[in-house]
Symmetry: C3
Subunit: 583 residues, 3 copies
């Protein structure tokens, strides 16, 4: 793994470049990420390239032995562009126009802006794509990060076009969304408006569609520049995904084919399991298939250079996780503290005056400590399903029982338990289930996504064990509840018992045991209602008690050569672990 840092030559004295880069080398750095906010320095208002300094800087970088990832500067359009296009400002979720002076405040559907960004990207690639220091390219910066997206009428029109392409006719859309509820039947595409989160009462189907559109619309924004970069001769084109823990704006499984490397911002503000989960999602079902680039990670505390109390050991543990995941690059943000702008007190490898302090020493130690680490990929036999559509559906729907966060459940309960049980586990989308796995974990898979049933069935036909939860396939693919009994989504596979499905109020838990282990569940619980011997049709696993009711913690069904195990409640980590250790 090569370790580096972001560097901002465009706002630093040219005299300092060589000295800063040499200091970085002494710390152990040999990668640089540059240019993501440098529009003002790269192009004049008239559109003339003013890139002489870039070549001088790249030469300095090459001389000092650095590999450089250069970025397109579209995250920070200069003020004169808002002068030229008063409709370039994004509209916020509450319908107000975003101000200038910030970043990511442009509308991603603006045709003039898209064209200019592509043109600039191509010129950058043509100019520097062949420079020996350049090893890759990043489009924009943390696209749609911090919840920044646009809710303007132009995006609304793009949404309508997207809907028309997806549903064909309004009749199909009205039927799929069940718009008869509350008389929302649409008679013109133009009536379907951006669902400003003004009220919580808009339809879950509309909100999910908007989430899906946004992912596609931003993918279009990314591809517009990625294609231009490649047309200009660039290789290794990617972007830096924003931390999963902060937002899930894109379906990364859709984006993956369009990225030459898997880039990410992976800040260590989070628990280590979050850092590991982020990388496991990035690796996907075939670790090693694509280079893994951690393009931002924290140098010291987020908001400053040196902090007391601080846990410098985290720097080493984080780098170790990256190395085990087989990351090619680990890039700190950033090399030297900014003197201006809202991030001027954020931490960096070097202080404002370029001095290496104890942060630099700790980073140096982390680099040395990770040098011997090699990639350690999970075997292909086990898969944890993580679906962005399930997250969006859950987020945009009223909660069944206590509210829960799909990502948090998958990450901190199922992924964490699977790591404890198996060391490592691969993560993929549901379509990846059907490729010779022996164990598939697909908890909280409520939305009946296209082909999901077939993919799971195919795995079962191959003898696999599928583990899920009692809300399995409870919804159609539009975020509406199916008019079926609990678990009846599996009715074609096996005989299902009558189940009474309880919501658990926040704070209420099912307490019980699995294989002698004390476990607990929350959010919901289902209890078989049918009397008689269950053994003919299913096997009960564990037992629980909650507010005077008793019942099993899970059910196991034989399906052909395979089996399905259904957790009847949202188990805690101990519960999932007891489960996985007693398959």
């Amino acid at each position: 793994m090569k370790i580096g840092a972001s560097y901002y030559p465009e706002v630093l004295p040219e005299n300092d470049w060589d000295k800063d880069l040499k200091t970085g080398r002494e710390v152990g750095l040999n990668v640089l990420r540059c240019g993501e906010f440098a529009w003002s320095a790269l192009f004049s208002p008239e559109g003339k390239a003013t890139m002489g300094w870039v070549r001088r800087f790249l030469d300095t970088a090459a001389t000092n032995g650095y590999e450089v990832v250069w970025c397109t500067p579209s995250a920070t359009p200069p003020p004169y562009l808002f002068d030229r296009w008063p409709d370039l400002n994004a509209t916020s979720i509450d319908g107000l126009v975003m101000p200038t002076g910030i970043r990511r405040h442009y509308c991603p559907s603006h045709p003039g802006y898209l064209e200019l960004c592509a043109e600039n990207a191509q010129r950058l690639a043509q100019e520097f794509g062949a420079h020996p220091a350049i090893h890759g390219w990043q489009v924009d910066n943390e696209i749609a990060g911090d919840g920044f997206t646009c809710w303007c009428d132009r995006c609304g029109a793009a949404f309508q076009t997207w809907l028309e392409k997806r549903y064909g006719t309004l009749d199909h859309l009205n039927a799929a969304w069940q718009t008869g509820v509350w008389s929302q039947v649409y008679t013109r595409w133009q009536q379907i408006r951006v669902p400003l989160l003004f009220r919580g009462s808009q339809a879950p189907a509309l909100k999910l569609a908007w989430r899906r559109f946004r992912s596609d619309n931003w993918l279009n924004f990314y591809r517009n520049q990625a294609d231009a970069l490649r047309a200009g001769g660039a290789r290794n084109v990617t972007t830096n995904f924003y931390n999963l823990a902060w937002d899930l704006p894109f379906d990364r499984w859709d984006w993956r084919p369009h990225l030459d490397a898997m880039g990410v911002s992976n800040y260590q503000d989070q628990a280590l399991v979050s850092n590991a989960f982020e990388l496991a999602v990035l690796q996907g079902p075939q670790p090693g298939e694509k280079p893994l680039w951690v393009l931002e990670q924290k140098a010291g505390q987020q908001a400053s250079q040196n902090f007391l109390p601080d846990d410098l050991g985290r720097l080493e543990r984080h780098i170790a996780i990256c190395a085990e995941a087989g990351a090619e690059y680990g890039v700190y943000w950033h090399m030297r503290q900014h003197a201006a702008g809202c991030e001027m007190e954020h931490g960096a490898v070097l202080r404002h005056d370029g001095r290496a302090t104890r942060i630099a020493r700790a980073i140096g130690n982390a680099i040395k400590g990770s040098a011997a680490k090699t990639a350690n990929h999970a075997p292909a036999e086990r898969l944890l399903v993580f679906s962005f559509n399930q997250f969006w559906a859950n987020e945009t729907r009223p909660p069944m029982g206590g509210a829960y966060d799909y990502r948090v459940e998958i990450e901190t309960t199922w992924f964490d338990a699977a790591q404890q049980a198996f060391g490592k586990i691969r993560i993929g989308n549901y379509g990846d289930a059907a490729n010779g796995r022996s164990l598939i974990l697909a908890p909280f898979f409520q939305l009946n996504e296209p082909g999901a049933e077939a993919a799971f069935k195919s795995a079962l036909n191959g003898g696999a064990t599928l583990i899920t939860t009692v809300d399995f396939l409870r919804l159609d693919n539009e975020n509406n509840v199916r008019r079926i009994a609990p678990l009846a989504g599996m009715a074609g596979w096996c005989e299902i018992p009558d189940l009474e499905l309880y919501q658990l109020k926040p704070g209420t838990t099912v307490k019980g045991g699995i294989a002698g282990q004390a476990v607990a569940g929350g959010t919901f619980w289902a209890i078989p209602m049918t009397s008689g011997t269950p053994s003919a049709r299913y096997r009960e696993i564990g037992s629980g008690q909650c507010e005077g009711c008793t019942g099993p913690m899970a059910l196991e069904f034989k399906v052909g050569p395979g089996r399905v195990i259904v957790a009847l409640t949202a188990l805690d980590t101990a519960g999932v672990l007891a489960f996985l250790r007693n398959l």
Copy 2:
């Protein structure tokens, strides 16, 4: 009492109707409420009636022995109407335009919408008014509920017209509102703007007027459809008032004459005393005068079908309260869980798949348990005054002492204590005081409403006991403080002692006793300042102590053959009870 549920045939497969209705009958239901969100299904965008399904459904209902309350669908205008009238969207309290895709998002002053709603109502009545299943009609749904009202300039213009009618001239208005304070003297009606709650510093007089206008403007909205329904041949026309605990948008005493039955949503999320208070206000000063329809009550938990922990016994206790109040209908929301829309996880009698679960069984038990209950009306001799104007005035005024909520005080302290002391008590407006009562409770009656003094005086002349608080008639009818001493509003009735009126900071209480009972007071406290023997002019009741001060808890004045008892502090329930038991 007949028990039923809301049912949405327009979004359920026609094949399910008969089965669902039969299941409902097995549970014990025989009333249905339908159609309040069915606009899309009832009329085509061109305005053609598409009502064939309604007749088929009503026939099914009749066959299965149900009585039906049908609703006008004006709560959910379809998207194409916002296409036709871009100015139909309501404006929110912060001045933003409300989005489509929700309900109650129309402007109630829109002339085209009013006309169309009336036309549709009349057509519905003409078509189905004579159908044997139809027993009544509901206009719109929870009008202005959830705080939904419109703050647009069109409503502002209607407000100005209303003001001109009420005050005649700007000179009268300026004098009444005392607009000289902060130079708010108006010189054109158009200068009086909707008091967007942008700042808390607008005049209490303006805010109270806006509250009064809103009640009248919404009454106009209701009557527009009610008249049309009746013109079409409908009988038993009403609407479902929103829970008092959630908002008090209307002066229900003004609305009462225009309702053939008293309809209400009475959700059991609240304390049982709130459910009972709601019904007592609905019954009014003459219980039995009009049918009482509880048109929405909760089936299971608000947001879901089955909950653990749950108190199914509440279902029975709530139904018992309704039966004792003499309700004719008790209608659950709703029969079968929605598959789509933001309410798709809300509870219902039947599950999404139409299955009756333990909720249905508990409702069945509640129905059986209430079958033998008969109406139990309070006697006419005692009256608790509840004035919507007092609530609005208190809400729109800066607090005198600790903030309090007029409804909460009346309901949870005075109504609750009166129920404990007398079993039941009637509730009415102040004008109802003058009809041969022996006891009138009118606490926190600050606003000097027109005729209030005369009504109370007339009761006193008839020998009644009037119980109030020391803030009695402290304000004029415009929400301004009168330049008089505490209690001087009664100066014409009896001699008033000098009182020093203290505000009590939140958390500060007057501790004392009445007739040997330990009681407490809050919010304010008044202490007689005059020395000498009080007995000539008034009698002191109880004694209290607070922060080193001492004084009585109440004063009693003889007024002709009657008497006035004034609580000097906002008593707690024990205090009011000690009071009422020692008259």
Copy 3:
């Protein structure tokens, strides 16, 4: 000191005037402040003066022996002006138009409004400037108080003009602000927009400039009327600054030359040290130079007349502070409780009905108690530097370490400790340091304001002791971090050791001792990194420990005949006191 109250003859019955003023005299009052909201009563919509009542009132005041401060009424333009100028409404910080019906809701850059306000002010002065009751004039009321300022495009244009005057060229501005960060390079003045606080991510340099502009723009607003008043013959012209604890909208050192008396609202909601600090800032570096007018102080609790529990002793303690500060006037808000408007329950000397209650008696006692107090000014030798620019810079910048409030630190730690150590201390701007002081306290002086270095150096050359903190001169004058090592701003004065500067997370403290006293520090801490003997270059003071690190609490440097003592952490009051007592 003369004590008085605000009185509102324009909204009180003329018959009450004489009685109220006589009652006030009995309490001990002999000053009145009038007219600040009386526009409606002073001028007709056509602009005609309607001031007959003013003369009658002033005669009554004179007869009763009152001195009167009359105010211009520009805080409450009447509704008809918003009719005439629909663009008069201010724009709020979130970009929405402020409603009418409040106060301070005008745009201070509106040319028509400025002209009218000046004209009215001049007419008032011409009419009453020579009346024997009139002793002074107040412009507007608590200008820009409650955070009220305007964020409209007209103010934006004025901001651009102000910027052009300050920076000359865009090249200078771009360089000074370092707009290369995030590509904010401006190419037209019009691109520099009002920094609506929509996002926290706008540049600190932009935000500080906006703060500076606002102070100047409001000074222009004040001077427009002050000049007109003087042109009309008025003497003793001032305004009432809003409490420092609530906002610091103006650089009072810039405003000072334009005020004939130093006026202030000094509410006693705050700690007594805040009341004293407010007055010390108002007195400035030369106490007694200008009359001190406390134009608003609280009569009873802010929101009501009488409160239980209440601490009436505070009334006396506050008046004593004013008297010691040498205040000429102490004016209560207000004489008699309002009957209308949002302040109708606020406390006053007299009750709504004009009755003097225990509040009046307590005020009477306070007046008697302060009669013998004489002004007690601090000696010139010691100065505490308080810079409004430092406050604004700190407020508009991301925090270095735990967030702190410059005013709070100066007031509650340094000013309080200085009072304890020296009895009294003068407060001034940094420019006042260079005038023969022996001790200058300038903690948290981060911004390198123009001439600051020279002023401090000149004091050191005179043998003074300068006490500051380790963040001294860390920033340039534009709110950007200088690319220098900690304390290197003093590098020209003495040799500086290498320091490692730590941020302390909120709740983390440096515990240590100075001269045997236990003290503590927060926010940041710096530790010398260099080995060897420090004594050659600096002296270490005290010692601290934090999270395993140890180091001194302060350093002392000899600079010519003077010395600089640098606190290495944000000391608590005990720390500053131990410091000051061991110089």
